[in-house]
Structure formats: structure tokens, C-alpha cells
Amino acid sequence: MEHVPEQIVVMEGVASSEHFLVGGEKPRRVLDDINLLIRSAEIWGINGTSLFEIKLLLEIMANIRPYDKGKCVLIERGMMRLKRVILKHVFYIGGSEMLYNNMNVLEFLMFAAAKSKINRVELQEEIFELIIAIGLGHLSLTPNYMLTKEEKAVITLIAAAFSDSLMIVFNLPKYVWDEVLIDAISKMTSFIKEKRKTLILATQNCLLIEKACSHTAITKNGLLIYSGTVENFRLSFDKVEVIIRDKAVESMKEKLTLLLPGYELDVKGGSLMISRKTSEVSDHGIIYKKIIESGFTPDSIEINSKTVQNAYEELIRQHDLQE
């Protein structure tokens, strides 16, 4: 049986060769002391305050950028600090111009999967039905030149899923994803996991991380400030328990502040967010009781389902306060 490496990326104290030059200040490394472990069949969403940082991190992971300090092991192979070669085990997507414009989507994917040993007709059926299943049936026979760059990127991701590469690096943090494409990527990640491949994607879209990723890593000022599962991230950092929507949220906030001393109340976009101050699990029933006691009947009360967006904002806020 073929040996499938368990550890796909191991980074220990990695620092980038690139520096930020800020006027009057000491130059700062773009990335410093990065420790990260990515295992087989995990889907990682790399987010951060700087697009350049996250793009560079993925470039180092794909072995196309040198690094200065530390150790980086890629698919159980040590990466030489100055060597810039994309290994055959890595499918790197750094742009959307990998598609041939004289083909349509299905033709291109058949071309990309040509090395596959599956019967051509069966392969064509599998690819075609997969495109439809991930919600991109409306693009299945569209000429490639008519696609947007984001659509092209997703098609390239499908090609990567059918390749021999164990690790897919989807390094397009500037791209703007709509719901259809987020859903398509999310469904593709299930397919990628089934094939025991690992996907690492760079994005600042929290919804994409929430829907598609099993793990996330967050960078800020060149440092990794979180790495772990998306679920843990949401539960640990999104402290908003209840969201109240009403016209009179401001007066409601004043009254509820007195009734809920263990909670923090914040008005955001016309909604009143009730967040816990501690890391303990709160009882939504108590909050509901206190709202009723206040004498208000809000238009809507919603128990927050814990989002990556809220967790991300909270994490960044905590780090801003520390600095």
C-alpha cells in the first residue's frame, strides 16, 4: 500500500526573508516565528489583517519563496531555505489564468484530468456531475474566456482535486467570493477531503472559512495569533450570545446593562449584541428572562449561532488592546 504522509506542513519558528520598512522604525519581518502543523485531509483557511502576510505565508508553504529562519517540512520532505521549486506533490493556484480560453469548462477539466486512469467516459460523467453537484452546472459548458477570475479559480480548484497532488495551495486572498462560489468551494472541500488531499486557502472572507474550512490560522503583524479548528475558534472568540433587533435598541441597552451585569452590551448596525464577559458558557434562558423583565418586546431575538466573522473581530480587538 502506498504511504500517505500524515503531516503535510510543519513550520517551526519560520521567519520570512522579506521585511516591512516603516519610516523611522526598525524594519520588521513580514512573518516571524510561525509555528504551524497541517495534517492530511485538513482544510485550512489562512486569514489575517494583511493580504501580503497571508499570501507570503502560503508562498513559503508552497516552496516558491525562500524563508530566512526556522524549519519548514513539506509533505515529510525538508524544504531548502533558498530553493524555489514547486514540488510535484503541491498544486499551487496563485492566479486564474491557468485555463485555456479555447476550451469550455468541461473540456478543460477533462484535459486537466487526462492522466487519470479512469475510463474517459466515466471520468467525463464524474466531472460533469460534480460540477452540477457543487452548484456550477450553469458554467459546465461555458467557454472559459467568458468566466470571471473567481469562477476560473474555482474551476482550477476542481482540476487540482483531480490531480495527483496531495496538497493544494489556493493563494488568492484578493479575490471576492459571492455566495454561489463560496458554496461551490465548500462542496469541493468535501470532495478534496474524501480524496485525502489537503487544501490550504488564503482569504479574508470569514464566511468562506466558516463554510469551507475545518481549521483556520490568523496572522497579525507578522505573527500567528491563532491556529486550530474553526469550531473552537468560533466558540472561543465569538462571545455574542443574543442579538436583539428593534427600533429602540439604544434605550433597551441602557435598561439591560443594569439587569445583565455579567454581560457586555453593544449596538452594531441597528442590532443590540449581548456578549458574555467571561469564557464560561452562558444560559440563554436567563438573558431571555431579563429581556422580558425589562418590559420591552423586541421585534426579534436571535440566539447567535457563533460566526467566524465575530470571532475574528473579537480576536483582533483583543490583540489591539494588548498592544
Binding site: 469550455n104 468541461l106 475510463n119 467516459v121 466515466e122 467525463q124 460523467e125 460533469f128 452540477i132 452546472g137 450553469h138 458554467l139 459546465s140 459548458l141 461555458t142 467557454p143 467568458m146
Partner: protein, 178 residues
Amino acid sequence: MTPTRYTTQEQIEAMRQEILHEKEKLAGISSGKAPSESRLPHGRRALKTVSGAAFLALCLLLVWSIISIQITKGRGGIPNVLGFQVFAVESGSMEPTLEVGTMIVSRIPKDPGNLKVNQIVTFRTLSNAIVTHRIIEVINNNGSKAYRTKGDNPINSPDQDLLTPNRVIGVFFAKIPF
């Protein structure tokens, strides 16, 4: 037809039908029915058999030629296929009939002692060089034949040495046009 931005449901269904059709065809072949084969008319089937045999013969000839060329080359001889040899003209002595760089095909003569005037022959000179010139005279010398040869180029004079039949390699057969 101008391609559209989005694939329609009709196009998707048509593609599905096409794939299904291909799958059925494939299933027919793998189960040994070979529907397309059995429906071939008798004449076409015969033609297919003949062309198959011809192709096989051609492949065998090619393999045999490669082997024979290698063997002959190994022995220091001039390679030939079915008695035909290919030479490249390296000098202008036969211009304008054969220009420099022309590829010619020569046939090994059945009887080198019975060649005629005007035939172009490829032969070894006494200094062992290979030359292609025209026979301009057949000389009978006490029962044994010899040939006087000359290049077609008007500036050439007849070759000094008479050509004896044992040094004849081939008789010009054709010029390869390119």
C-alpha cells in the same frame, strides 16, 4: 452559434444524453457484442481485413529494414532495402541532372556486366570513393567488359579509370524530390 455566458438546462440534459450514449456504446463493446463491427457490410469488412494485413506487412517490412540496415552498416557495407539503396549527391559533377544535395535511389544491378550507354551508375573508384556518373562508352576488352564514365557537368572530362563490373554498386533508379 454564438456561445452564451451560462449553460442552459437543455444543454446540460443534451450533454447527459451524449455521455449516456457513449456509455452504452462502451458497454456494448466490452460485452463482446461489438454492434458497430457486426453491422459492417461484407465488402467493407474485407477491405478492413486487407488494409489490416497491409499495415501489418508494412510494419514487418519496416522492422526488417531497420535490422538489415544495422547489420549491413555493422559489416561496413552499403545498406539496402529490397535491393534499393539511397545516396546523397555531394558534388556538382552530375549537374544539371543531379544537383548537389539531391537524394537518389539506386537499384543493385542483376548483371553488372551488361550495362548500357547512358545509364547512370553508382560505383566505387579505385581509391574507394563512391561516385555516381553516366556510362558514355562500353568497351569490350578480350571478352571482358569495361565502361567509360563521365559526369554530366560539361566542365567534366571522362573519368580516367575504366569502370569494371565488379565495382558497380547500383544503377540510378529515381531522384527523391524535396
